[in-house]
């Protein structure tokens, strides 16, 4: 069911009023099927743009993206997306949101359709998987931000996508809810075995979730370093304080800072190197 993603020589720029800005410069990346890959980087590194291009929501200027060996052409049911917020349909209940894809013609001929009537069952199973069985008839406005993201994850899983693309899905949540959601995503993925591409600006989140972490540098967005996370595949909270984890976290954080400094040096802002490196990375 899961699929690999191969990205090669991707370029993307956004047209401005006077000149266009290069957001992605020669990005190549291979993600084997079933991998949990996280992308981390300072703002402006093009990580969200890269995800949106893979989702088919935006087109690259040049380059090739193969999903399961086939070039992509716009959005497709094999790639589900979890957005940061506001993507649930407010007029539908939690369960109706999860079932929404069933109302679209594109989803009627997949493997779920073989077992018609099993949809309801699967929706219920997914909602209980994200721990929200008690709230399945609530509207999104009645749910907290964390609960809404749980439903968004269940909705993404509904049509059994080969790949799930997550664009800072926990960016709007508080720190405690975030940690709970990270463990939830890990356990859900362990059950469904989907390929995951997870974009975040939070280094700890990237390291805790990913089996590999791609660090991107900003202006223009490039792949800077790819780190292997030296932890077993099944993670638990205590690994957050594992010395290997902490060493790598420090290393990545320093590198993120350096990439921001580099880009500030390059741009003609007139800032000295010292000032640039003292800037907090946002």
């Amino acid at each position: 069911m899961t699929k690999s993603i191969e990205i090669s020589r991707l370029f993307k720029s956004f047209a401005g009023k006077r000149h266009s800005t290069l957001v992605l410069e020669n990005v190549s990346l291979a993600i084997p099927a079933g991998e949990f890959l996280t992308i981390v980087g300072a703002s402006g590194c093009g990580k969200s743009t890269l995800l949106r291009i893979i989702a088919g929501l935006e087109a690259a200027d040049s380059g090739v993206i193969l999903v399961g060996g086939k070039p992509i052409n716009g959005p497709g049911v094999d790639r589900a997306v979890v957005f940061q917020d506001y993507s649930l349909f407010p007029w539908l209940t939690a369960k109706q949101n999860v079932l929404f894809s069933r109302r679209l013609a594109a989803n009627t001929h997949d493997n779920l359709a073989l077992e018609r009537g099993a949809e309801e069952e699967r929706a219920q199973k997914l909602i209980s998987l994200v721990g929200l069985s008690a709230a399945e008839d609530a509207y999104p406005s009645q749910l907290s931000g964390g609960m809404r993201q749980r439903i968004a994850i269940a909705r993404a899983l509904m049509s059994k996508p080969a790949i799930i693309l997550m664009d800072e899905p926990f960016g709007a949540l508080d720190a405690q809810t975030r940690e709970v959601m990270q463990d939830l995503v890990l356990s859900v993925v362990a059950q469904e075995g989907t390929t995951i591409l997870f974009v975040t600006h939070d280094v700890e989140e990237a390291l805790y979730l990913g089996s590999r972490v791609v660090l991107m540098s900003p202006h223009p967005g490039r792949i800077d370093t790819i780190y292997d996370v030296p932890l077993p595949k099944t993670r638990n909270v205590m690994m957050r304080v594992d010395p290997r984890f902490l060493t790598l976290k420090r290393q990545v954080m320093e590198r993120v800072r350096e990439t921001v400094g580099l880009s500030l040096d390059r741009s003609a802002l007139g800032s000295t190197g010292a000032e640039a490196s003292a800037r907090p990375n946002s």
Partner: protein, 284 residues
């Protein structure tokens, strides 16, 4: 936090300050009122002008022929209902508004939906509509009478001209406010353009579309009265105009108050409908 603010307010606590605090609370910026307090202020807001009116009338500062009293107006309304064909005036007016408004709605809704969703439709429709919208509907009356005569069609045409162009632009705006994330979520689920239009954009925009209807229906009433004053021989607006000819100031007052009430009732009905149709907006 709470403890410290309490201390500060407790220290200098003269009696006056405590008495003042109630009205202070009512008038604090973005403050809250209980339902009962709200009603009290609202009733005062309606009663005070009526009392002032009665006072000016009793004091005979203005001749009665120009300013009838509340009682005169009420009596006049009674005789309008009983002897002067109020029901007929009301029903023909309601009929005109309904037909004019629905005609406008039926055409404006699809156009607004298109203009708010597709850029070429926006470019094609909006600048032109924007231009026409600034021509006062009243200025179309002579033309409408030439084209449509003095029959029912001319009233409906004026209501249509007064509401349609604004409606298209407002509907388009409502549709544009549908969050992009909802649309993109449906796209990633394989939704086609048609599916996204009908299953995401339309239901997502529905509450604001209904609000736009509520606002434009108010305008439809305004243009109805304009049409009936300029070119009609029936309806509420015409009754007001005729009353002026016979110097029946009390009937003019009654007519205006009736039109005001109709607007208020219709507004409340549409609010109730909004409440009933979109329970999910109420939150937790």
């Amino acid at each position: 936090m709470n403890a410290s603010t309490a201390e500060i307010s407790v220290k200098p606590a003269p009696v006056e300050a405590l008495e003042k605090s109630a009205s202070r609370k009512h008038w604090s910026i973005r403050g809250q009122l209980t339902r009962r307090q709200f009603t009290t202020y609202a009733v005062a807001g309606v009663l005070i002008p009526i009392l002032l009116w009665a006072f000016f009338n009793e004091a005979a500062i203005v001749p009665k022929i120009f300013l009838p009293g509340p009682v005169d107006v009420a009596k006049r309304f009674g005789s309008w209902v009983l002897n002067e064909g109020f029901a007929a005036d009301l029903s023909i007016s309601v009929q005109r508004v309904t037909v004019g408004f629905l005609a406008s709605l039926v055409i404006a809704l699809p156009l607004g939906l298109l203009a708010g969703t597709f850029k070429p439709a926006e470019a094609f429709l909006e600048p032109a509509m924007d231009f026409v919208r600034y021509m006062p509907a009243v200025a179309f009356v002579p033309l409408v009478m030439l084209w449509c005569g003095v029959g029912e069609l001319s009233k409906i045409a004026i209501i249509f001209i007064g509401t349609f162009f604004q409606m298209v632009l407002m509907f388009a705006d409502d549709v544009r406010k549908v969050p992009m994330q909802q649309i993109e979520a449906a796209q990633t689920m394989g939704g086609t353009r048609r599916e996204i239009l009908y299953k995401v954009i339309l239901p997502s925009a529905a509450p604001s579309l209904l609000t736009t209807c509520r606002i434009t229906l108010g305008w439809a009433w305004t243009y109805l009265v304009v049409a009936e004053i300029v070119a009609a021989n029936s309806g509420l607006g015409y009754a007001v105009l005729k009353a002026q000819r016979f110097l029946q100031t009390d009937k003019i007052f009654a007519g205006l108050i009736v039109i005001g009430f109709l607007g208020l009732i219709q507004d409340q009905l549409l609010r109730a409908l909004h409440h009933a149709l979109f329970p999910y907006l109420r939150g937790r």
